[in-house]
Every structure is written in C-alpha cells, then in structure tokens.
Symmetry: C2
Subunit: 888 residues, 2 copies
C-alpha cells in the first residue's frame, strides 16, 4: 500500500495545512465543525510531489483513490459527474501551504459537456445561463489546462458580438453562445492538436494534472526561490461540488468579515447579492448590498450565517474573512481564512479579543503587524476619500500634508509664521533652507534621494516629504512648477503623501494620528515581553521630548552635524572649514563651543538621566559649502557682465577651496573620524561642549546625565584608540576643571565592513558599539543610496533581483552576516560591551527582529517609529519562543 493521497473534507483538519494546503485544511476544519460546506475532497501536496517524481504521471493508486472519493461525493450529492439529466459539477482549485502567484488557480463548472449542459439548462430553467457556463468552462479549461493562447477565445467572442451586432457579452443569446461553444472547440482542436475531452473524468484528471504541473511553472519557481520556499512542498488540489447562488430569489452569494476590517469594530460586515454568482460580487457588475440588509432578504440563511461567523471566530480565535453561497435557501461556506485589516483595526481587534478572553496578551501583541503601525503615527490621507495623483516621487518621510505651494525658504518661513500652511517646493534643499523647512507643513523636491538633505531633515522633524519627484519642472523665477499638463503657481494648494510619495492637486482631508488607549495597551504589553531596549535617534530637545512620549528609553544617536546647519551657525562653520590653519580654525570653533554646549544641555535635561549617545562630527566638510557648478557659473557671469575684480576674486577663492574639498565619492572620503584625526581641534571642541553641558546639567538638576560619546566611521582599531585618548583627555580636563565626577562611555559606530570584520580588535577600545547599518549597507552592497533608489535599486526590486529594499529591511545574508560576526568577536574579547543599532533599520520590524536574534542590547530609531520598534522587539521574543517550542 502506498501513501493516502486523497482526503475527504471530513478527514482533514486545519493542522494539516502542509498536506492539504491552506484552503483544503480550512474547508476540512469547517466540515468537522458541522458548518455547511459543499461536499468535496482534497488531493494532497504529497501526490503533487509524487506526480513530479514519476515524470508527470499520476502516482500509483491516485486514480483509484480519486475514483472512490468521486463516487462517494456523487452518492452524497445524488448527482453524477457529467450525467445528462442531473449533472454534478465541480470546481478544481489549487491550494498550497502558502499562496503563490503564477500557479493555476481555479477551473469552475467542470463536468459540463454537450449532454450535461442540457441537464444544467433543465435544472436552472435557463438555457442561456447553461451555455454561458459551458463556454466559460471550455475557455478556462482550454487556457489553463490545455495551454491555448487565451487571446484566441477573446477574439472569437469579439467576432460573435459583431456578428450578433451587440456591444456586450451579456447581450449574446443562448444561440450565440451555443455557436461560440462550437467555435471554442474548433480553436482547441486546432491549437492543442486534440479535441475537447467530453469525458468528465478525463476533464477532472487533466485539471488535476494541470494544477500539479503549475507548481513547476517558471513564475512559481522564481517566486519560491525569492522567498526561500522549498520546492518540495507541492500544492494540494481541492475538488468541490459546485453550488449556485443564482438559482432564484432564495439564492445569493457574498463575502464577509467577522469584524469591521477597517475600524476593528465588532459588527456584521460584508457584501452580498441575491440571485447571483460569486464573481458578480467581486466584479462589481451589480451594486452589492450591505450584509446588514440580508436579514430582510434571506432571514433564515442570514441567521445561520451570523451563527457560523460567530462559531468560526470563536474557533479560530481570529477575525475571519469568509466566502459563502446560498443555493435555494441553503447556506454553503466556500472559504474561511484570517482577514486582512488596517492597522487601527488590528490594534482594536487584538485588544478587544484579549478583553473577550479569546486570546492572551502575548497573542494580542503577536497579532498586530508592527510594520503597519507606522500608519497610525502620522496624519494621513483619509482612506475614504478619492483623489487624483499627478505624480509620485520617493516616499522620503511618512505622513501627509496640505498647503500652499511656495518656492523659497524665506517665503515659507514668512507665510508659515503668519499661520498659513505651506508646502516648500524646491529642486533640492540645502542648509540655507532650514528656517523654511521648520515653518512648512511638508517639502516636495524634484531631485535628491532618500538621504538627500530634504529627506533627512524632514524625517528628523517627523514632517512629510516627497523627494526626487523628477516629473515636476520647477521654474523658481516664474514662481510655478509644471507636471504633465498641469501648472501649479505659488499659492496653489497641493497635498503630498510622504507615506506613498504621491503628489495631489488641491486639498485632501487628513485624519490625525490614531494613538488611542488600545494602541497604548498593545505597546505596554509589548514592553512586558521584550528583552531588547528601544532608543531614539534625536538631534534636538523637541525630538527627544517626542520620542520620550513614544516610550524611548534613551537616545541611541544624536547627530551633531545638523546642529551645524542652522542658518545662524552655518557662516561660522564655513569660516572653520575655510580656515587656512589650525589657529584660525580654533577661533571659529571657539565661537561654536557655547552653541554646541547649549544644544547638549537641552538634550540632557530632556532625557533626565536616560542614556544619550552623541556622535561626533561625521559628514564630509564640503556638505557645508556652496555648490561648485553654481559658483563656477556665477564667476563666468560676473566676468562677462563686468563684475568687480574683488567679487570675482572672492568667489574664486571659495571655488578653489570647494574644489580642493570636493570628492569623487564623498561617502568613501574624508569624513567621520578621518576628520577628527586630521583636525583634532574639531572633536576636542565637541567633547568639551558635551562634558561642560553634562557638568552644567548635573549642577542644575543634581543628577548627572548618562553620557556616551561615539566616534564615527572607524575602520582601524588604531583610529579608535587615538580618538578615545583624545576624548578621555578632554573629558578629564573638563571634569577636573568643574571639580566633579561624571561617568561617561566612549564607543564607536560599526559602519564599515572592515570594522565588522576586525570588531574584536576594535572592541579593545570601546565601551559600546552602535551598528550604523545605513552606511554598512552602502559599503557592503556597494550601493550609494542616493544613486540606487529611484535608479537601479528600483529596477532590481521591480525585477525581483532583490526581495526588499536593503535600506528598509536589513540584508540578513550580507550585512546581517557581518553584524553577527562583529557581535561574536566583540563579545568574546569584551564581554561587557553594549551593542546597539542606530541605522534606520532600527525602526523596521523585520530588521528589529533580526537585531534581537543577533543578540543586540538595543535598537535606536526615529521618534515616530519607537512604538513600532517596541512592538517588533516583543514579537521577536514571541517568535523565538515558538521556535524553541516547535523544535523541542
């Protein structure tokens, strides 16, 4: 005896998804719960695999098992497949463990032939319906089972319409459809080299084989390779008795959710149609009715449906998405599965179900998709409203904003201060635009990527931004921009959606962030579960304050360069950079010192003794300087228009300095600790400002801040040794001068592959490591983020060469591997070392889970993503426990 290849629905259960597929397992589960399901059986995934192994032959015993189960089904139905007077019709559907594009989906109405179509006509009293069903069956069968080009059938229908002189398919008469059946059969014979199989059992075997075969279709294989799904799983095949919702006014069909998937409310939710087929509901040909009305149309079936939905939800302990058909008053369930929902609904359902005693807190936490949570933390477009998108750029900073278009920062600042809502539209922004960005509701740029100035600043401010919208043409002179045929002038209102990158003309209503009690409950429960800390990336007291509201337990990354970019400071910073020697540079730094100290005091006070990791200056110096091409063009203009010698000379001096600082690849140039090592006076000023601020706050509040000083872009242990030496020396000087003692830590970013590979050595000089996975991704993959997103990386994502954007979800096999190596090597040499992540991955759920598995102590992310990280960190614990459980 071989394996059992076929299971009646009464023989299966929901735990048998691997063997019966998701659809089959749930049909079996419902059958065993006593819920009405049309009769049927499932051919196992093992049969599919055996079919492949046997060289595309049914494995021994399968044909007989199918025959037995078909006979049992016929007996139960009191009909026979293909019988002339009272035919049994079946659907054949694939159903793998995971749903998978590229696989054969469904063949309906199987069992029809020239004889049984007459029986169907008699049963339904509708000859047109019967022949329409027949031609649909032949068309579907021809296309997916016999692999005939579907266009040929569509062409034949067009020809038939022309001949009948009608406009729509549903105007074709029964006679027209009969003729079409004949034409379809000819097409089949001509194209497939064999005639349409009249024998229903042959139809069934061919359909089963086609489902099996589609497991190895190129698209399915590609999909599996990309998602790392084993080729050995196979697909199951469900053979289900057809039931018809279009058998009169006591029949109907619909789809429903056990709760409102949009709000999470516990209410009846769904659509249905009387006297209709399932595809009519989906296709939107007729206007559907709300499920609430069904109790008037079909009272008994409605009562039964509500009872079934309750049973299913109690049984599955999860919101269900169901399909049903009522045939002559009799309810049949055709599918049940866990329902998709909005973030708001997910939160409410999880909290409610815990309240109802259906699920535990852990389950509630596990149920909310952490990635979705971001939706709730920014104002967003009202999902109920419709609107036209005129162009789409990069979704650089989430949330939506509405405002009047302005084209320069001064106007934005002026109008913004006077209370107007404005959107700053620029080719690209620069540090000179900060005052405008602060006052604008959002920013739209035609240039620049996810790490452009506008994008970085907007994310830091939690302000919506759409960047690199390269379809828009800005004319600052004329105070307008064009996109396609539209022209938008200064003062016109637009809406930008930084969550999707969409740009919309006019105002769209926004809904506010949805942080409610339910939301609070979920993240607080998450806190009880998670073992990894959650900090925030914050550069200002305002950001820090916001992040604390969201539950941040410290600052994991305080960037000091943005502090240099405010309009009041930029001239001093430029002085520092243009300085011809150490003495001049030190003078400029002296001016910056009290400003920096003030920044740090504000942040330390806000964080009230929570740890604050401050990164010393990181970006290439030329980021603070004017654009080289613009300078050269200006010099040319001055020369040709009689500009003064002095003006020209001044600009040429600036141009010379910019040229000398210009780099081919600034990402790989003089930045990070390479600045601090060559011009130690810069880092000395910063360390001095930090410790003087710490001492001042200690004096003022009586409590010392937890100071962590971070050296960026270390690649050699020797770099950190020196910079640690400098840091400790200056700290001790300041503390001695202030006559106080404050603990401080010195650590580094791990953001270069060399740092990861040699982390053991580097850990000799570090109290902590923070993995800068943004830059580590750029160097490990050789992807400049500015040059990849919107360009080749977008192509790679579209083409499935990479599965997910490695700047959003950490590249586990490449970057992740380096992180793991560094964790192992540094913990071995320096067991007390504290390890965290401060790249944007710290706010992305899959990456947060990776960080937990890799054994990091904390993640740090933007303020708005802190709740999401808290949730994902808890889910990582739950997933780990489950894994331990299942492998035990």
């Amino acid at each position: 005896m071989g394996k059992k290849f076929v299971y009646d629905f009464s023989e299966g259960s929901r735990d048998m998804k691997a063997l019966l597929g998701g659809k089959g397992a749930n049909l079996a589960e419902m059958t065993n719960l006593g819920i009405p399901v049309p009769g049927g059986f499932t051919i196992t995934t093992e049969a599919c695999i055996a079919y492949g192994v046997a060289g595309k032959q049914f494995p021994e015993g399968l044909a007989e098992e199918v025959a037995d189960h078909l006979a049992a089904l016929e007996e139960k139905a009191g009909k026979k497949l293909g019988q002339a007077d009272n035919p049994l019709l079946v659907s054949v559907r694939s159903g793998a463990k995971f749903s998978m594009p590229g696989m054969m989906d469904t063949v309906l109405n199987l069992g029809l032939n020239d004889e049984s179509v007459q029986g169907l006509a008699a049963q339904t009293g509708d000859e047109r319906f019967a022949f329409d069903a027949y031609r649909r069956f032949i068309q579907m069968f021809g296309k997916v089972v016999m692999e005939v080009d579907g266009q040929l059938f569509e062409d034949a229908i067009s020809a038939e319409r022309e001949k009948a002189d009608v406009s729509f398919d549903n105007e074709l008469s029964a006679e027209d459809l009969k003729e079409l059946v004949g034409t379809f059969k000819q097409i089949l014979e001509r194209e497939a080299g064999r005639s349409f199989p009249d024998d229903p059992r042959e139809q069934l075997d061919m359909a089963i084989a086609a489902v099996f075969g589609s497991w190895d279709a190129p698209r399915a294989v590609t999909y599996r390779r990309h998602y790392n799904i084993s080729d050995d799983l196979g697909t199951a095949v469900n053979v289900v008795m057809m039931v018809f919702g279009n058998m009169g006014d006591d029949s109907g069909t619909g789809v429903a959710f056990t709760r409102n998937p949009s709000t999470g409310e516990k209410e009846i939710f769904g659509d249905y149609l009387v006297n209709a087929q399932g595809e009519d509901v989906v296709a939107g040909i007729r206007k559907t009715k709300k499920l609430a009305e069904m109790k008037d149309d079909l009272p008994q079936a409605c009562e039964k449906l509500i009872q079934v939905m309750h049973t299913l939800e109690q049984h599955y302990r999860e919101m269900q998405d169901i399909e049903f058909t009522i045939e002559k008053g009799q309810l049949y369930m055709l599918q049940t599965r866990d329902g998709k929902r909005t973030a708001a609904a997910a939160v409410k359902i999880a909290v409610d179900m815990f309240g109802e005693g259906l699920i535990s807190k852990e389950e509630a936490v596990a149920r909310v998709d952490a990635g979705q949570l971001d939706q709730l933390l920014h104002p967003m477009l009202d999902p109920a409203k419709e609107y036209d998108v005129v162009t789409t750029g990069l979704n650089a900073s989430p949330g939506a904003a509405v405002g009047k278009v302005v084209f320069d920062a001064d106007t934005a600042a002026a109008r913004g201060k006077s209370g107007e809502s404005v959107i700053l539209v620029r080719w690209e922004t620069s540090p000179d635009d900060i005052h405008g960005l602060i006052q604008a509701q959002g920013v739209l740029t035609s240039h620049g990527g996810m790490t452009s100035h506008a994008a970085v600043v907007a994310r830091g401010m939690g302000k919506p931004a759409v960047c690199g919208a390269d379809q828009i043409r800005i004319s600052e002179e004329d105070r307008r921009f064009t996109v396609g045929e539209h022209t938008i002038s200064e003062g016109d209102i637009i809406t930008i959606d930084g969550t999707t990158g969409n740009v919309i003309l006019g105002a769209v209503e926004l809904v506010p962030p949805q942080i409610n009690e339910n939301f609070q409950s979920i993240v607080e429960w998450a806190d009880q579960i998670r073992t990894m800390g959650v900090r925030t990336n914050a550069d200002t007291p305002e950001d820090a304050e916001k992040a604390r509201e969201f539950g941040a337990e410290g600052i994991g990354l305080c960037r000091t360069e943005h502090m240099f970019m405010t309009p009041g400071r930029l001239p001093i910073v430029r002085e520092m950079i243009m300085a011809s020697g150490t003495r001049e540079r030190s003078a400029a730094l002296e001016n910056l010192l009290p400003m920096q100290q003030g920044d740090f005091e504000g942040i330390f006070e806000t964080m009230q003794g929570l740890p604050v990791t401050i990164r010393l200056l990181d970006p290439p110096l030329h980021e603070f300087l004017p654009d080289y091409t613009e300078l050269m063009v200006e010099i040319e203009r001055l020369k040709l228009t009689g500009g003064s010698e002095a003006d020209i000379a001044e600009r040429e001096a600036v141009a010379a300095r910019v040229r000398s600082l210009k780099e081919m690849n600034p990402m790989l140039g003089t930045r990070g600790c390479r600045l601090g090592i060559q011009w130690p006076e810069i880092y000395e000023m910063q360390v001095r400002a930090i410790m003087q601020a710490a001492a001042a706050v200690q004096k003022k509040t009586g409590a010392a801040p937890q100071v962590e000083i971070m050296i960026p872009l270390v690649g050699y242990a020797e770099e950190l040794r020196r910079m640690r030496g400098l840091t400790v020396r200056v700290c001790e000087e300041v503390l001695a001068g202030a006559g106080t003692a404050i603990d401080y830590k010195v650590g580094t970013m791990i953001e270069l592959p060399r740092a990861a590979v040699t982390a053991g050595h580097i850990s000799d000089y570090a109290d902590f490591f923070s993995f800068g996975t943004n830059d580590l991704t750029q160097t490990t993959l050789g992807f400049s983020r500015d040059d990849a997103e919107g360009k080749f990386l977008t192509y790679y994502l579209d083409e499935g060469i990479v599965q997910s954007n490695p700047f959003e979800t950490i590249d586990v096999n490449g970057v992740g591997k380096l992180v793991e190596m560094a964790v192992d090597a540094s913990r071995e040499k320096n067991p007390g070392i504290k390890l965290g992540v401060c790249g944007e991955h710290g706010g992305e759920p899959d990456s947060v889970k990776f960080c937990h598995r890799a054994g990091l102590n904390y993640v740090s992310c933007s303020p708005y993503r802190v709740p999401l990280a808290r949730l994902a960190a808890a889910q990582a614990v739950l997933e780990e426990k489950r894994m331990v459980f299942t492998t035990a």
Copy 2:
C-alpha cells in the same frame, strides 16, 4: 640559581639572536670564528624583561654577573674601567632581535671621569682629544641616560664658542673643553637633581638600565604595536671594549661590503680613513679613501681584512656589510650584518652565489627582494646623477621619462609622431586625450589620484605618470605652468619619475630596463618552485605581447571599457549612452560590435590558446560623457555672449543627460553588472563580439582560444544567474551560427563585501571567481581611492595609523579575511571553481604571498609586474616550507 643573564662573546652564536639580539649574536659568531673582535659581553633580552617585571630593578644576580664579566674583560684587556693611568673604556649599545626606532642606541667612551680622562690623554698623547671625548661622553650620558634636555648642552657649547671667539667646535682648545666639562656637570646637577656619577661602575649600571628602559619608550612601543612585534622580546645590551682608530698612522677605521652593493660585482668595496674615528667616516668631515688603496697604507691589516671578509661571506653565505677599526696595526671587527643592495646587485649576487656553490637555487630565489625587482623593469633615473626635485606628485605609474612640455593632446600627438619626446602636462586627462597619451613619453597631471584617467591609462601602457602634483599651476592659455618660483613654458624640457612622483627641471640621464641573463635565471628558477599561476591584466594585443615576453601564462583581466575610449569610438559610445531608447542604443551597439570583435581577435591571436578572461563593461556611463560644470559654464557664456538658440539647446540637452547620469558616489552607483542587467543589449553585444572573435580565430589558426567571460560587480547570486543566462544564450547562438564548438567559462569578480560574504551562493553560477581587490578594498575600508591617496590616507600612513597603503599591499586583516571567507565558502560548494586575483595587489610581493596562502589558483597583474609576481609566488612556497619546518 636564576637564569644566566650575561654571555661573553665567546659564549654566544648567531643562532641566539632572540636572546642576544642581532648585534650581540653576530659579535659572538665572529669571536668564535677566530675573527678579531674587541672583548666584551652581552646582557640578554631576558634580563631586560626581568628588569621590567621587577619594577625597573636589576633582577637578582645580574649585578654580580656583570661584575664577573667586567672583571674578566679587564683582565683580558689589561686595563681597568676608570683606572687613572690606563683606563678601560667601553661602549654600551642596545641590540634587539629586530632593529627598532625610538630605542636608546649607543653610549661611547663610558668609563671616563676626572681621573681616567687624564689616563686617556696620556695614552693618546692628545689632551684635547681626551677632553673632547670626555665632554662628548657626559653630553651623551646626560641626554640619553639621565634624560636632560639636549638643547642645554648645545647652548653651552655655543656660549663657549662665543667666549673663545671661534666659529666651529673643532676650534675649541683643550682648555675650552675642560671648562665645558665643568659646565656640563653643572647642567646635569641642576636638571637631573643629582651629580654626574664619577664611579665607572655606576656609569655602567645606569647605562644598562637606560637601554632596558628605552624598550618601553613610547615611540618603541608604538612601533612594535604597528609592526605586530611582541612586547615580550626585550632588548639585549652589548658592553664592548673601546678601540681607537685615531691612535696614529698605523690606525684607521672603515666600513665595507663583501661585494659591490650597487652592481653585485665580486670586488672589494668600501671606504676607510687612516688615523680616524668611526664617526669621521660616516660624518663625511674628511674625504674617505677607497678600500682598494688600503693595501698601500696598512698592508698587513688590509690583508687580514680581506681574509676576514672572505671568511665571513663563506660562513654567512651572504653578502656582508661590516665595520672595522684598526688600532695600532691591529684589526678589530665591530659589526657584521647582511648587506643592503640594489635590485640589480641582488639578482647578480644570488645567481653568482649559486654558481659558486654557496647557495641553492631556492636560496637564490629567496634572496632577491621581489618588491625591488620593479626597479629593473622600467627606464629609471641614473642613480649616480644628482638633480633637483621641484615638486612631487603621486607615483602613479613607474619609470622615468624626459621630454618637452606640451599642454594639449593634439600637440603631443603631432610632436610625438614627428619623433620628438614630449611630456603631456594637463590638469587631468580624459578619453579625448588618448591620442596624445599614446605619443607622449609620459604624463604629468596636477589633479586626480592613483585611479584617475591618466594614472590608469599610463599604467596600462607601461608609461611613466606623475599625477595629482597639486603644487603646479597650469595656464593652458599661456602655454606654461608654474611651480613655486619656476615657470615652465611649452617646449621646455622636464624629467618625471613615476616611481617616486618626482618632477625635475631639465633632462636627467636615464638607464634602461635591466633585464639580463641573471634576471632570467632567477625568474625561471622561481617558475620551478611556485605553484600559483601568474597572468596579466592586458587590454590590447600590445600589452598581451609584452606580458607574454615577461612570462604571463594568460590574461586574468581584459577590461573592455578602455576599448570604448579611443577617439574613433567615443562618439559612438556617446550615441549609445545618449540614446533615448533600446532601439537607438542597439543601433549604436551594432556599430561597436565589429570594432570590439576586432579587439578580441587580436588578443586571442596573441595569447595563442592561453586563457583570456574578458570583463564585460564595468564603469559608470557618465565616465564617457563631458564634464558637467564645464558644460554649464559654457552654456552661461553662450547665453551672455549671444550664442545661437540651437547651440544653447543642444548643450542643454547634453547637460540634462549628464545630470541624469551624474552620481553622488559613482563608485557605488550604476556600473558593473548593474549596467548589463538594466541594458542587456550592451552585454549581449560584447558577448557576441567575444564569441565571434573566438570562432574567427579558431577558423584562422585551427586552435580555439580559451575564453573566460567575467561579469563585474556582482553582489547577489541572482545577478550572476541572470547574466550567466544571457551569456550562455548568446554564446550558444553564435556557436550554432558558426557551426562550431568552443569551450568557454563564465565567472564573476568578487569585489563587494556582500559578494565575499555570500560567495557560497554565488559560486552556484560561476566557473571562476576573480577577486577584484582594488574595489574590494575601497568598499571594505570605505576608502575612495581617488579621495584617499594624497589626502587622509597619506596622513594615516605618515602618522602610522595604517602600516602600508592598502591599495598597494592587501589589507590582510580586513580585505584578506573576506577573501579567505569567500575562498572557503566557494570551494566547499563548488570544489572545481578556479580562483584568482586581478586587482593591482596581484603585482605586489606581500599580497602575492597572501594569495598563495589563501589558496588562490593564480594572480594577475600588469605586464611589467609579471616577473615580480612569478618571484613572489615562488618565495611564498619557500616561506611556507620554512614555516612547516620551524613549527615541526
């Protein structure tokens, strides 16, 4: 009983370098050979370590052992340390296993005090000499042993000179010097807080302690950390009886080599002085005499010396560098060590010594410094000539060149063709300059790094280049450049030395490459030993031909992009890039196809069946386009000077395309296989050209080329899977069309950290890997070569943060680790995979040795470095065998 801490010279041997230091071991070896060496003893490195462990105290027993050995020495010498009438004087010298900067070197004349100085005066009959020796001893002792600021002594000497009204130290009289002795003692007492020790034994103990202490001097510690030398080695201390070469005309002193260190000739070579001290020879105060003349001046000592030199060379089986002193006719050897020599000498000596039966072939191969060999392969400045260097740029391509300065490629091409020698001087070169580069003797640029256009092209052509000489100011308009106070006009002659980066005004005589029979012997012996293959990086038949002459066994990297940059093709390449769609692009590619095919036919024919690895197009497309800033300035000029609308529009279109292709970090942008994946027609054309060329050559010569097609910049296995698919498809099409069969391999560069980390996966689709260690270094270290060399990397090298330029010598701990990971993972999954290196490291000896240890199958380097790689590969085998031997 403790350890034995002191060894008389008669107790040691040259095998005891670890215990006695290099100097002490060789003094002992000479003593035991019966060669005259002044009496003395060595205090062991273990004593030094014990001194540190004991908290800077002499370990138990050391003082007694020193006393015993001193007594023995006094007895042998018939003098006593510090004795008033016949004093023994000694020198105290450090001597570690490795010589090391920062450690105390020497104290001479130890044993002098107010009494014994009189004895010395009596012995020498020269009171002035005695007091000069005495004040020198106090000065040296004060500075290095008692750590008094040396400037104070210099100031005192100046004061004494003024007082005596003389200009030079040697004009000071015995009386002046006596006074100075007094002054020095006062300085000592004031600064060190104790008086000068009159007791000679105290002097000795203090000097020994000072040598011990200098082992832990900061500079020595830093040096050891950088060169990975253990802190546990310690330094030995040699106490040697002073002998004097200035005791009359039967005395003298000198240095010598056992063979000519410049040519390698077996001849007497050295300098000496009659009646002089060792320092007089070195300081160049008196004109030295050639050693050949010594047999007239000091016939007996000379005969003895020649005999000793012969004995030493026979004994050490290596050319020796010696120091000697003759005191009253008696020869004393003060030092012997292996002598440094030029590359030419190294080769000749190694081959000669094999011929003399002194050493084996393996030893001969091991004796030649592979790194030095490069000197012999290019014309170079005559080392005998003197010249003034006006500025120094990057040594971008080795060898020297002399020629007339020209400032544009057209002039260079015209003058070059007419037989003039010209040096092309440019701010930077571009593809438009190729015809000028071809005709020029060398190139000098004021901008651009080691991978700038000029540098890469010049290295490819084996032509000298000095790049990034940023002190020179070029005025193309005025046809001249300035550097410092010099102005060089077109037609003026300069000399550039690409080996050092030096620029010299006027012509300096060059010596031709020194490839002779000895050179051939060494590399042929190396071939018998090495196990790793040596290929070349060659883009043209000429390069390939040159490399074959140098012994290349195939082409490891044939870059196709340089083929795109010749003046005839660049317009077509620009058409391809500017193409608005696939059709236009394909048309341009059609035009390139026959040109590329011609290129490959030439190379295949030259390589006569040896493997040829061809890399498909790699660089970012914008490299082929005009400079953006220049374009924008030109547009501004046209606008302001009434240029035609059409001209402006045309340039604006070009500018728009350049802007859209411009990248923030081109190194990490759309290049390598990212081009081939997005625009497959480019790679299809190239593969077609390769296989059509292979088929044509097969037809013509009857033998098929060994074709290896290499896909650049793979980071994901999926990229290679697709590009391999494309390659195989096109190859099969071509072969089917040609009706022939040719084997070909498809592989990839491993040049991204992700590729190294996921090499196991990638190896599924690769017949070979070639490690592109140039780019792998850039991404692993986060060093853009263009932005690092001459900037922060130069600073890092100067400061000792990195030990060697990672673009020259592979970074073993970082990049090397990734290479090793990739080798392991790929060999495990794909044991037949062929592994090589094609970065510039393939031509650097230490890196070649690393490649051997890592288990690579071959290295590939520029044609001129092939002999060097052959030699280094053999030395790697020898080093490995020795390691096995010593650890067994």
